[in-house]
């Protein structure tokens, strides 16, 4: 029983199970899947979505959502390339990216936190606006390798103990964010807000401020994710980051970061992202016909959501029984 209870508190259990099943299952059907290179592909490919999923976690635990990340990450990936090709230093361009992201985030946060507007609407609007500005700024221009800061280029190309630096960055970010989310008051407040918004105010949590801060953080990280994106693709154009937001939200949801707020962790979000990426690779490795991929992918996401729902509710109910008996 106590084990069961501990298990229930471990919100990421379902997604981890799913990940193991998919990985082993695919590998069983196609041994190549166990090869190191595949593992690298997964880690390498997931970097961007994982980074954005970490950022997104901040707002989703508050029962909010940020759809503008796709536009933001695209814009900053372009800016970084564009600015550094104009001779700005790496630090300068990274700072610029951070600033742009944080600004968009702050605007979202202000509108949601202080004006009490629904985040879905607000961030849908900023998604359009930022994308529009991006298109105007980047008109017809493509950032190519020669314009990419060589440090980023290097990060994209090299590995630490065989693991792409991009994923190393993700892990580091995850650890930092994870500790913050688990161990700092401000971050705990986010969970409280998402768990019971009206009560949060009553216990004296500065809700508006926290919402503003969280959205700003999400924006800032998404802004920096532009660097990851540039490092990964070594190129950027106005098409970059198009439609990424839904993938990110999907990763969070699959990772047990509940849309209903209050639960979930950055670890879960990253695991969710990895699961989606693994599924993508698995579809390839299993030689599933090209045109079936998207459909299979979609149904697997449904399965993941369902599994998460099933396990979490079932385990929780046993938990309550245990408590009441």
């Amino acid at each position: 029983m106590s084990i069961l209870r501990r298990a229930t508190r471990f919100r990421e259990l379902p997604v981890l199970l799913g990940l193991v099943v998919v990985y082993l299952g695919t590998g069983f059907l196609n041994p190549i899947f166990f090869s190191v290179s595949i593992l690298n592909d997964i880690f390498f490919g997931v970097a961007i979505v994982a980074t954005l999923a970490i950022a997104q976690t901040f707002v989703i635990v508050m029962r909010h959502i940020d759809l503008s990340v796709g536009s933001v990450v695209g814009l900053t990936s372009f800016l970084i390339g564009d600015l550094s090709s104009r001779g700005f230093s790496l630090l300068a361009v990274l700072f610029a990216a951070l600033l742009v992201g944080a600004t968009v985030g702050a605007v979202n946060g202000f509108l949601v936190g202080y004006l009490g507007l629904p985040s879905l609407v607000v961030t849908l609007a900023t998604l359009y606006i930022v994308r529009g500005i991006f298109n105007e700024v980047g008109k017809g221009q493509t950032i190519v390798e020669s314009m990419v800061p060589k440090e980023l280029n290097w990060l994209g190309l090299n590995r630490l103990f065989g693991i792409s630096y991009l994923f190393v960055i993700v892990v580091v970010l995850m650890l930092i964010a994870g500790v913050l989310m688990q161990r700092t008051r401000a971050a705990r407040d986010l969970y409280a807000i998402g768990s019971n918004p009206s009560a949060a105010g009553l216990v004296g949590i500065p809700v508006k401020l926290r919402v503003l801060a969280a959205f700003t953080a999400t924006g800032a990280i998404s802004g920096l994710a532009g660097a990851v994106m540039l490092a990964r693709f070594n190129s950027s154009s106005t098409q970059s980051g198009l439609g990424l937001e839904l993938l990110v939200v999907a990763a969070c949801v699959v990772g047990g970061v509940s849309i209903a707020g209050g639960t979930g962790s950055v670890f879960g979000a990253v695991t969710g992202a990895v699961l989606l990426q693994t599924i993508l690779m698995a579809i390839g490795a299993l030689g599933i016909p090209q045109f079936w991929q998207l459909a299979v992918n979609g149904s697997l996401i449904i399965a993941a959501i369902g599994l998460d729902r099933y396990l979490s509710t079932r385990l929780r109910s046993t938990n309550i029984m245990g408590a009441s008996s």
């Binding site: 500790v179 008051r185 969970y191 009206s198 009553l202 707020g261 929780r316």
Partner: protein, 501 residues
């Protein structure tokens, strides 16, 4: 408790208005350390406004609040807590996804250095719980915690900020007698720790059982403060309502007719088992038992809001389809739910819209809802129930608790049900309205309505019900007729003889 000490908290001539309404109009309150102080008054007398002021939710327009001789910083819940005033609301709002430990310290989690220290937090919380002799796993989440336990958590929270003034706003309204006892002992411990405890309740028996002094409010004014030992119940009631309240539980005998509802060995996994009873026309059947004994679950299953595993619900000989409230309604069942805000009303909607929501069938001609008829129906019922309102267009969220409950009743009585289920029909309603509701119910019974009444208030059940089905831990442990039913019998059945009071 000695009057020599200066009061720890005193409110002087407090005034507060909302819109046109003067909620507080000269409220005085003096609290001394180490006393349990009852705050009495009908709904709308200004109790909650006063409490909310002390909680830091509201700010007085005029008047003074002093705490330990210093003026009390109003208008911020946080600073209110920091100054040592804590409020336990009737329905505490904990954070369902957080652990109990974190719920206690939420917003000011214990830290070692810059980081939250979970071990320390769990330890401290655990000790506080044991201090109050309550056994709860501090590392479980608050989801699915009983209201009683939630209140305990709130109280622990108050202790953790070592509050000198702890205000309990109708804490017993939703508690079973067992839990009430536990709460009382907790309250007494707090008094012994020299806290000033404010106890708000509509149940005078509890007040007399627990409190040292009482302050009575009416129409936003303080009309008197006296020692409980000197007070007489009838006098207190008079002070509260400003008039004699004739009889509290006026069930007049009605001759019983046909069996209209029959419940055959109803079972629901983990909720209740083998429930069997019948209700006749004109009969009021009481469902007694502790909160969590499965009473509400049963009536919810009967009405089809929840489903059940076995058994059947039979109305006039025809079994109902399970988990289908629409059919149940069509079959003539109505349910006045336990939680009026959440389950009974559409808060932003007008009185009329709330009343008509169950009636749309009848208001429709050629597919179109006739707004005129809708208004008419609402008006009639508002009149019959003596609803106090300025316009039928008013949103119900603006009404007082009592009037809101009347709207819920109207919404169901308007359907002219054959069977009316009322779950805690008078919870959190002032004495005056309470007796109105009781009179109404017995009148309906006389007209042949079959009523099932779930209530935690023993006098109410004993007073109103023709027969009483007593529940314990999901089982039907006894059925008492009106004349054989005594408080002792019911309690002993409900709690298992051990917990006889």
């Amino acid at each position: 408790m000695n009057q020599v000490n200066p009061p720890v908290l005193s409110v002087l001539a407090g005034r507060k208005a909302f819109g046109g309404v003067q909620a507080l109009d000269g409220a005085d309150l003096n609290l001394f350390p180490g006393e349990i102080h009852a705050l009495l008054g009908e709904n709308g007398a200004g109790k909650s406004t006063l409490l909310k002021t002390l909680a830091g939710v509201h700010k007085l327009d005029a008047g003074s609040v002093t705490l330990n001789g210093k003026s009390f910083q109003q208008g911020s819940t946080r600073s209110a807590q920091e100054q040592g005033v804590a409020v336990i609301y009737q329905e505490p709002s904990l954070f369902p996804d957080l652990t109990l430990a974190e719920n206690v310290f939420v917003g000011r989690q214990l830290q070692s250095g810059k980081f939250v220290d979970w071990k320390k937090m769990r330890r401290e919380a655990a000790t506080l719980f044991s201090q109050l002799g309550v056994d709860l796993d501090v590392s479980r989440t608050a989801r699915g915690l009983s209201i009683a336990d939630q209140q305990i958590v709130e109280i622990i929270k108050a202790l953790s900020i070592n509050a000198q003034v702890i205000i309990m706003d109708e804490p017993t309204a939703a508690l079973s007698s067992k839990e009430v006892d536990r709460l009382f002992s907790v309250a007494r411990r707090l008094r012994d720790q020299n806290c000033a405890v404010v106890f708000v309740s509509h149940r005078l028996d509890e007040v007399f059982a627990l409190c040292d002094r009482m302050t009575v409010m009416r129409d936003g004014r303080t009309v008197g403060t006296e020692l409980v030992s000197d007070a007489v119940q009838s006098q207190v009631i008079k002070m509260m309502v400003g008039r004699e309240v004739s009889e509290l539980f006026p069930k007049t005998e009605a001759d019983l007719g046909e069996i209209v509802l029959e419940v055959k060995n109803l079972c629901s996994e983990g909720q209740f088992q083998d429930i069997n009873f019948t209700v006749r026309e004109g009969e009021i059947l009481g469902l007694a038992g502790l909160v969590g004994s499965g009473r509400s679950e049963i009536v919810r299953a009967i009405f089809g809001v929840d489903t059940y595993d076995q058994g059947s619900v039979i109305v006039n000989g025809t079994p109902l389809r399970k988990a289908d409230s629409a059919r149940a309604m069509a079959a003539g069942i109505g349910l006045v739910p336990e939680d009026r805000r959440l389950e009974g009303l559409f808060m932003p909607y007008s009185i009329a819209a709330n009343t008509s929501i169950t009636l749309l069938e009848r208001l429709v001609r050629k597919l179109v809802i006739r707004k005129k008829d809708e208004q008419k129906v609402a008006e009639n019922w508002a009149k019959t129930l003596q609803l106090k309102f300025s316009s039928l267009g008013d949103a119900v969220e603006r009404l007082s608790g009592g009037n809101q409950q009347k709207v819920v009743l109207a919404k169901w009585l308007a359907t002219q049900p054959k069977i009316l289920i009322v779950d805690e029909p008078t919870r959190g309603i002032d004495v005056g309205t309470k007796s109105e509701v009781h009179r109404l119910l017995s009148k309906m019974a006389q007209e042949g309505l079959a009523i099932i009444m779930v209530s935690s208030e023993l006098p109410e059940v004993l007073g109103m019900a023709d027969r009483i089905v007593v529940m314990r831990e999901g089982r039907q442990v006894g059925t008492l007729s009106r004349d054989e039913a005594t408080p002792e019998k019911v309690i002993s059945l409900a709690t298992g003889a051990a917990a006889l009071r």
